[in-house]
């Protein structure tokens, strides 16, 4: 397998982008990446998108979106893993290049959520339809149960959850592409309306439109496109049981653990080596569970991390400097790519006010459903 | 002799007080409670209907009968509020209870006496020898129109009776049905609430049919009111059953156990059947029980039953009616009640 580098990135703003369609979002992000690399061709395109079919009634995204950027003819396909669709798109594109099948691959993620679909119902299809959604549980409801189990087992409090949102908004306020560029106070978070007890509105990532794209090529060709390539040290996937009922411990995200372990092993690194990370904070509790599962904090102590500043900018292991899903936004399929882009920019020293000093090794973790799938990328400054 | 080999009942846990409904419409709560002898009624949850109520009652009946569900050869559900206009309530029940597929199923309707209709036919099939066991169920979640007298009483609940020839808990001694064409209360297809003839529903309807059926049954069986330990009549409100009992020569004491309506309301096809279940919950062996239903349209089914020595040891195998009426329950506001009874208009 060849070494693979990310050589360029492109991303729309995330938010309620009424004026832009699904294909328009993709085009904006893809063209920005192609332009940054001054690339005029592609060998393959992989698009991650949770459900253009349910959100806007459109399937067959591979050829549709290749065509949209004037690349009809190129090998193009769509991959899906609910909220981890972006991460698995990156994984698929990585394999395209690592295997020698492609020399220049575009990994993109896109989601158009505000065109009038019943968002709650569509997102619930990431859960087990027969055993969970049919019974009336919602997506926030599943994470609320995870939160309750975590509170019972590890003493996590509602305030601990709120601190995650406060931290991520503070970061997001520094991100020009974030959906919410304002800070929130602890009181605002604790006082926001209940969505599924104990999760409140401000514990939950928003409904967003957006797209993100990165260009991959073999490491030994990277200088054609950029003088600061970033190497993909590991790209690892794992799954867990689909239904929350079948998890050994509902407060432990074992798919995240597994994908993290596989990535660390491939890269030959350990959690303390990671200097900056993007993790999947679809709900505040998810960030706490993910940093525990990834070994970025000691076991069972995830609840303290945001409050003590451990995972804030300037802390020992900054997590979600982009603002996370909470503040940056969560156009479902785009998130996995956007996370990789944040780490990409951090490692190239291009993160502006969000810059983590001298970051050399970063991690991006993207998760689907209530933790049934997880994909971890470890990136390194070259 | 054929008779009841298992019985069960179900009353939902939600309630609304008569005075809460009275307040809603600016009526005097005390006058309502005194005039109708109603305190409160049961309210079905948004997830309850005639099918779910029937399943709960039938499960209890099977527990008491101690027979394998597959031995039931016929299932009849009588109701005024079958969930589908076309598709029987009984088919969901036979799948839920493991009675399917070797069984005959039919739904019955005859206003409030659809339950005893189902019981009459189930009994007849067993007596004919066509099946070994047959189940008759009366269950309803019928509605009363807002600001109508019936809104105080229309409630939800049901009872199930399994008939057979072996290990009988109460033998059926005699039956009598009295029927005529009397338009006292009806509902046309597509209408949400039923309509009724006001005071016409009393003497020419309720009283005439219950009295005629009961007197004919007594005559046919050679029995008199004093021979019975318990009597149950259809209960559209608290007053009517007491009045008809008195005019037929029964005492308050004979009526007391089956007179559930003050705290249950009128469960329509479930009304007298649930009263019968409440009586079976406490009756001693060798006692005579009389039950006469009334269904608008109109008709009455009357049954005389005699309990056996097997009853006391079986009745503890499922919840009693009183434990459901007096047990854990939630009182609703009128707004919650309107939401549960789907009286609030929403878009599709």
């Amino acid at each position: 397998m060849r070494e693979v580098a990310i050589v360029a990135a492109g991303m729309t703003r995330f938010g309620e982008l009424w004026e832009t369609s699904l294909r328009g979002l993709f085009a904006e992000a893809a063209l920005e990446a192609l332009q940054a690399a001054r690339a005029d061709h592609l060998d393959s395109i992989v698009v991650g998108c949770m459900s253009a079919g349910q959100f806007v009634g459109q399937e067959h995204l591979g050829p549709l979106l290749a065509d949209e950027i004037g690349m009809a003819g190129v090998a193009a396909t769509h991959v899906e893993s609910a909220c981890a669709s972006g991460g698995v798109a990156l994984h698929a594109a990585f394999l395209e290049v690592a295997s020698g099948a492609s020399d220049l691959a575009l990994a993109a993620g896109v989601e158009k959520m505000t065109d009038g679909a019943d968002v709650t119902a569509v997102l619930a299809t990431a859960a087990d339809q027969e055993r969970e959604a049919y019974q009336g549980i919602t997506f926030p409801g599943l994470y609320a149960m995870i939160a309750r189990a975590h509170m019972q087992a590890k003493g996590t409090t509602e305030e601990d959850l709120a601190w995650v949102a406060v931290k991520n908004h503070r970061h997001g306020a520094l991100n020009p592409k974030a959906q919410f560029r304002r800070e929130v106070t602890l009181e605002e978070v604790m006082g926001s309306s209940l969505v599924a007890d104990p999760l409140r509105l401000l514990h939950c990532s928003p409904v967003s439109d957006g797209a993100a794209a990165v260009l991959l090529c073999p490491l030994d060709q990277a200088r054609r496109y950029t003088d600061r390539p970033v190497r993909i040290r590991a790209s690892a996937l794992a799954t867990s049981t689909m239904a929350l009922a079948d998890r050994k411990d509902p407060s432990v995200l074992d798919a995240v653990q597994r994908s993290g372990e596989r990535a660390y092993r491939t890269a030959g690194v350990a959690p303390p080596d990671i200097q900056v990370a993007e993790v999947h904070d679809c709900f505040a509790i998810a960030e706490i569970c993910c940093i525990e599962a990834l070994g970025l904090v000691p076991p069972c102590s995830g609840r303290h991390a945001a409050r003590t500043g451990l995972t804030a900018l300037g802390g020992k292991i900054p997590v979600n400097t982009s603002g996370g899903l909470k503040s940056k936004g969560h156009p479902v399929g785009a998130t996995g790519i956007a996370q990789a882009i944040e780490i990409f920019e951090q490692l190239r020293g291009e993160a502006g006010a969000r810059q983590v000093k001298d970051a050399r090794l970063g991690l991006a973790q993207n998760m689907g459903g209530s933790g049934a799938s997880s994909v971890v990328h470890i990136l390194e400054r070259v | 002799m054929a008779g009841i080999v298992g019985y069960g009942a179900y009353v939902p846990r939600n309630r609304i007080k008569a005075e809460e409904i009275a307040r809603q419409w600016g009526k005097d709560p005390a006058a309502i409670r005194k005039g109708l002898l109603l305190e409160e009624k049961s309210v079905p949850g948004l997830d309850e209907d005639t099918i779910t109520i029937s399943v709960a009652a039938a499960r209890a009946a099977l527990d008491r009968a101690r027979i394998a569900p597959s031995r039931i050869g016929a299932v009849y559900i009588g109701s005024e509020s079958h969930p589908y206009a076309v598709k029987p309530s009984g088919t969901a029940l036979i799948e839920a209870l493991g009675i399917a597929p070797a069984v005959h199923v039919a739904d019955f309707e005859f206003a409030c006496k659809a339950g005893t209709e189902a019981m009459f036919v189930a009994l007849g099939l067993v007596e004919a020898g066509r099946v070994d066991y047959a189940m008759g169920i009366g269950a309803d979640t019928s509605q009363g129109a807002p600001n109508d007298a019936l809104e105080f009483s229309a409630s939800a609940g049901g009872a199930a009776f399994i008939f057979g020839r072996q290990d009988v808990l109460a033998e059926v001694v005699e039956t009598y049905s009295y029927t005529s064409d009397t338009p006292d209360f009806w509902r046309r297809e597509g209408e949400f609430y039923p309509r009724h003839g006001g005071r016409f529903t009393g003497e020419p309807a309720y009283f005439k049919h219950i009295e005629s059926a009961t007197r004919a049954l007594l005559g046919k069986a050679g029995l008199k009111p004093a021979d019975f330990r318990h009597v149950i009549f259809h209960m559209p409100n608290g007053k009517f059953p007491l009045q008809v009992g008195k005019s037929l020569g029964f005492t308050r004491e004979q009526l007391a156990t089956g007179w559930l309506v003050p705290t249950m309301g009128n469960t329509y096809s479930g009304s007298s059947p649930t009263g019968l279940a409440a009586v079976l919950d406490v009756a001693e062996p060798g006692e005579l029980i009389l039950i006469t239903s009334f269904g608008s349209g109109a008709g009455s089914d009357s049954f005389a039953l005699r309990t056996t020595g097997l009853l006391p040891e079986r009745r503890g195998l499922a919840p009693t009616v009183r434990s459901m009426l007096d047990g854990p329950r939630r009182y609703l506001t009128y707004g919650e009640y309107a939401k549960y009874r789907e009286k609030i208009i929403v878009n599709e």
Partner: protein, 130 residues
């Protein structure tokens, strides 16, 4: 929900039909082809008891459109005596009263109506044990 799928699911929804792996004893609800514990393929058909205990729960305040009128409602992960875990609403009580450890009975209820003219879908829910 389309009729064929609803009908296929009746044994699970109406009768709590489950399967016990003959190799390692793991109970799968609903039944499935491969045992998640030992990857075995031999099963014994069982029915779950109509009772259990709450493992974790939440109260859904923002419901999907089919459950609009029922919100807020409690949903819980319930474990039956056979060791099966299932996701179910807990009704006939104040939603906030549902807590881990609570004993529940499982009952037959109508889970949803498919609009004004579609089929009615039945299945199991939990109520606090009497």
């Amino acid at each position: 929900m389309p009729s064929p799928r609803y009908w296929r699911e009746i044994p699970t929804r109406y009768r709590l039909e489950a399967a016990r792996c003959t190799g390692c004893g793991k109970v799968a609800f609903p039944a499935r082809p491969v045992c998640p514990e030992c990857r075995g393929r031999e099963w014994e058909r069982i029915h779950l008891s109509w009772r259990g205990k709450v493992v974790t729960s939440t109260v859904v305040q923002v419901p999907p459109s089919e459950f609009q009128m029922e919100a807020p409602y409690a949903v819980a992960l319930v474990e039956t005596p056979e060791g099966a875990r299932l996701m179910t609403q807990v009704v006939d009580c104040e939603p906030s009263s549902v807590q881990p450890g609570m004993e529940v009975s499982l009952v037959f209820r109508r889970l949803r109506k498919e609009g004004r003219g579609g089929i009615l879908c039945y299945g199991y829910k939990a109520v606090p044990a009497a």
